[in-house]
Each structure stands twice: as C-alpha cells, then as structure tokens.
Assembly symmetry: C2
Homo-oligomer: 321 residues x 2
Amino acid sequence: MQTLLNQVKEIFDNEQFIFPPEHLYQPIDYTLRLGGKRIRPLLLLAANQMFGGNPAQVHNAALGIETFHNFTLLHDDLMDKSPLRRGQPTVYRKWDENTAILSGDTMFALAWRYFLRQPHPRLHDILNCFNETAIQVCEGQQYDMDFEQRQNVTLDEYMLMIRYKTAVLLAAALKIGALYASAPDTDIDNLFQFGIHLGLAFQLQDDLLDAFGNTDTFGKQTGQDIRDNKKTYLILTALQTAPQPLRDELTALFSSTPADTNPKVQRVLQIYSDLGIRSQVEQAIDQQFLQAASCLDQIQVPDQNKTPLRDLAGTLSGRKK
Amino acid sequence: MQTLLNQVKEIFDNEQFIFPPEHLYQPIDYTLRLGGKRIRPLLLLAANQMFGGNPAQVHNAALGIETFHNFTLLHDDLMDKSPLRRGQPTVYRKWDENTAILSGDTMFALAWRYFLRQPHPRLHDILNCFNETAIQVCEGQQYDMDFEQRQNVTLDEYMLMIRYKTAVLLAAALKIGALYASAPDTDIDNLFQFGIHLGLAFQLQDDLLDAFGNTDTFGKQTGQDIRDNKKTYLILTALQTAPQPLRDELTALFSSTPADTNPKVQRVLQIYSDLGIRSQVEQAIDQQFLQAASCLDQIQVPDQNKTPLRDLAGTLSGRKK
C-alpha cells in the first residue's frame, strides 16, 4: 500500500505540467500539484498490479485519469461557486472564470494525450471505457444541478446521480488498470462493481462530511450542500424519515436562499440530529463497503494480490484493518 | 461540391443529439442544429474522396470534428461574452453560464465518442492528430485572450495565434479525411499545409468581416473585436502603418473600455479607412489563398480529384470559379 502511494507520488512529482502559454498551464500545474488523495491513480495501479501488470505501462494512464478528474473538479468548482478546494483557493477565485473554463478544457485534452501515449492491444477498449465514463460524469453533474431545482428527488434518482458523478470514474480507474494487465473479462466486471460500491460509499461519506466535518480536516466549508440546497443522501433520508411538520420545514429550508445562510445550516443540522440521520447514513455506507468486499472476494487471483485494494477500502471506510 | 454539401447535411439531419438528462443535451442539439457552413466536415469528406476513400467510413469523423468545433465555439462565446452566434442567441445567453460550461464539456466527450466509433488501421494516428489539434486550439484561445491585455503584440505572434486557434483544425479535418483513405504521407503533409493556408485566409477574412461586414450577412455584431480590444490583423497592420500621432490614438483607443463603445468603433473604422487597411488585409488574404493553391497542386492525385477542394477554396476566397 505504501509502495503504491510512493509510486503515485513519484509519477506526479516527476511530471512537467507547464508549457507556453504559461497563463494556460499555470492553473493546470497549480491544480495537479494541490495533491489530494490521488485515489484514482492509486486504484489504477493497484488493479494493474493485482493481475501482475507492469507499473511502467500504466504510468501515463495514472496521469490521465487524475488529470481528467481534476478537470471535472475545476469546472465543478466554477459551476458550484466553491471558494476552496483542498483548503486552497479554487482556480476561478485565484485567477478568473475564463481561466477556469479554458484551463479545464485543456486538462481534458491533456488527459487524452496521456491515454494515447501508451500503446496496448486493448487500447481501443481502454479509450472507450475512459470516454463513456467521462460522458457519464458530465451527465451526473447535470443531474446534480437539476436536483437543486427539484423538490421531488427520490433516493433512487440520487443513487443514480452519484453513481455517474463519482462512482463510475473510480470503477473505470480499476477497469483500465486491469485492462492494461490483460485481466479476464469476468474479473474486470467484478472489479468494476467493486469500484462502483466503493465510489457510492465514498460519495455518501462526502455528503456526511459536508454536514458534520470541519474545515480543518475536510478543506471545504461545512454545510455548503445545505447552503446550495443540494439534494444529498442526508436531506433525502431526512425527508423520508421526518414527520409531516418537520418535512414541511425542511422543504421550505431547502427552497430558501437567505442572505445569511448560517441560521439555515444550524437548523437543518439540528433536525438531522433529532432524526438520527447520521447513523442512518453510516449504515448505508457500511452496506456499500460490504458489497464492495463481496465483489473483491469473487475475483480469481491469489488472495494476497487483493491486499492493497482491501486495505484501501478499509482505510476509506475508516475502520482499523 | 453540391454532392459533398448534401452528404454533410444528411449526416447531421439524421443524427440524434438528445438523450437524458435533457437539460444537458438540449443546448448541444441547439448548437449542432444551428448549422453554419460545416466547413470542417466538408473538408474531411472532400479529402477522403480525393484519395478514393469510402464516405461511410468518415461519417463519424465528420460528426466528431464538427462537434468538437462547436464545443470550442460554445465555450469561446461564454469567455468572450458574445450575445449572438449565427444570428441566434449563444448558449450562455439562451440558457446560463453553467449550462454552457457543462454542455460544452460533454460535446468534447461526444466528439471523442464519434472518433472512437470507426475502427481503422491508422486510428491511433487519427486520434493523436485530433487531440494534439484540440490542445493547440485551446492554446490559441489563450494567446488570443493574452493579446487583449498586451500592447506590444507582433504580426508574427498574431499569425501563430490564428494558426492555433483556427487553421490547425481545418488542416486536421483534411488530414483525418486523408488518413481514413490511407493516403501517402507526403500527400497528407501537403494537404495539411493547404489547410493551414486556407485557415489563415479564413481567419483574416473573419477579421475583415468583423470590421466591415454587417449583422445581416455575418450573424454577429459588427466591430465586436474593436469593442473587445482584440488584437486582429487589422489593428496590428494599422499600428505598423500609421504615423506616430495616429498610432498613439489607436493605442489609446485599444486600451479604453468606454460605456458607449459606438464612437470608439466609428473612430477606429475611420482610421482603418484613412490608412487603406482593408486593401492591405485583402492582399494578405490573397497571398494565403495562393500558397494554399500551390500546396494543392503538389498532391499526387488526378487533377479532377482536386476539384471539390479547389472549388471550396475559390468559394471561400469570394472569387468566381
């Protein structure tokens, strides 16, 4: 696991991201050097090594998947008007909106450059997987924005949205790593599903952290989803659970855009606490981690090959190994 | 030529661009159905047929190149805050900024879907050509925005900028069409250079039309480049040609952002007229068309195979055939 982390760190530390014109590439370098957990390249390398792949062969794909992911963050931050990312100013704040648009677009093309650099007999499958995932990520972001305007979003619709917006890219990272190692198709399918469940768990945790985390450890403003009237697993569960008067109050709160949003955030958090939303969401997260573990179990490789991915899921779930 | 135009029209008329979520795809459908000259798919098909290619084989590439081009227009219109495109409201005006960002991103991915759909022994070269071109188009747009803030842009820098922003995509359309027809590399190089010169001529004409065209035939507001303090071939030539007092006045005008921009536009146009800028730019355009014709002459195919591209260049140059 530590070896994988070091491999990923080295790949990014040794890569050059600045070319002329520098106004275009400085925000790209800034974004890609902010770090973060680099989960997607980590998953890609881990999947590749699980099937005995050659790490040098997935070096470019690891850069590609993270560059794509950071492109989506850059544009999402602009669309969501988020001031902070990983505790630092977002690109549209540090530079301006046009810079965020164009540097983002360029990152998408740079991701393609990385993927196209490494020939492989299954390259066409790899590129298709990457691109269909990219389209779903865009669709997921659209559903997310649509849901802000709608009052009747169901939990099923929400789960589809986070599957597209978050889970498919984690699953694609694993699948691409496995494709480079020429893994059998049934194993690739199980690995993909492992990634989907891991991604869903990951997003539900993110929802939970937005409400109950703090800016020091999370690097974002707490309660931003509530301020933005975002439909999350928390509010949708609360609307299902709450008695009528509370449900009406929640609906009214999530239709309001007050100048001072702090009282709104405090009131919503109080209702979540009264309804026991935190433990309900934690149960849903556990469920996704269990399903992920079951998919991993079914993959036909020696058990010790699964250790890095099992450890990674364990770390993400916050449990002791 | 008419056959090619009909083929392109049919390809776009028969293609579906709307999928769920509809808020994402409606602006894409709107943009791709606005029409325009569809020069890039036309060039792609013409190049393919010049080398005896199979039209069915470049159907997807034609859709891909135009979808990519329209993605860049969509984001450029947002960055430039242009109200009109082809005489119709731009996407960020008809919908909103976030829609323009996300639907644009999705169009880039849809362009890739089209390119990935058609297998070919040289697909890797085709995808590399497309992607390196996409990166240059982004770099060109950045140079364009950089130049708005700079007072010392040279004509050489300007020519590099329009090469990236406009010419390389026309050249790439031709190259990709030729690659699908398995044309020889030297012919592909000449065809690419033909496209570069055609593209440069095309952009210089666009500069000229922005200043001297009218909204009826051009579909955009006249003098927008002057309002935006855009460095164009016109102003850079004027700055080279003008005596010192006029040069100072032009420099001051192109640093100003008055509330009412009409007097500024009128004064700049008057100076252009006094300096004979129009005929100087027309000469530069003719020069590019001549170089394009020379590249076309060197391609080793029967002369009648060149007729569509020769006609197309003739139509663009505004000359009678």
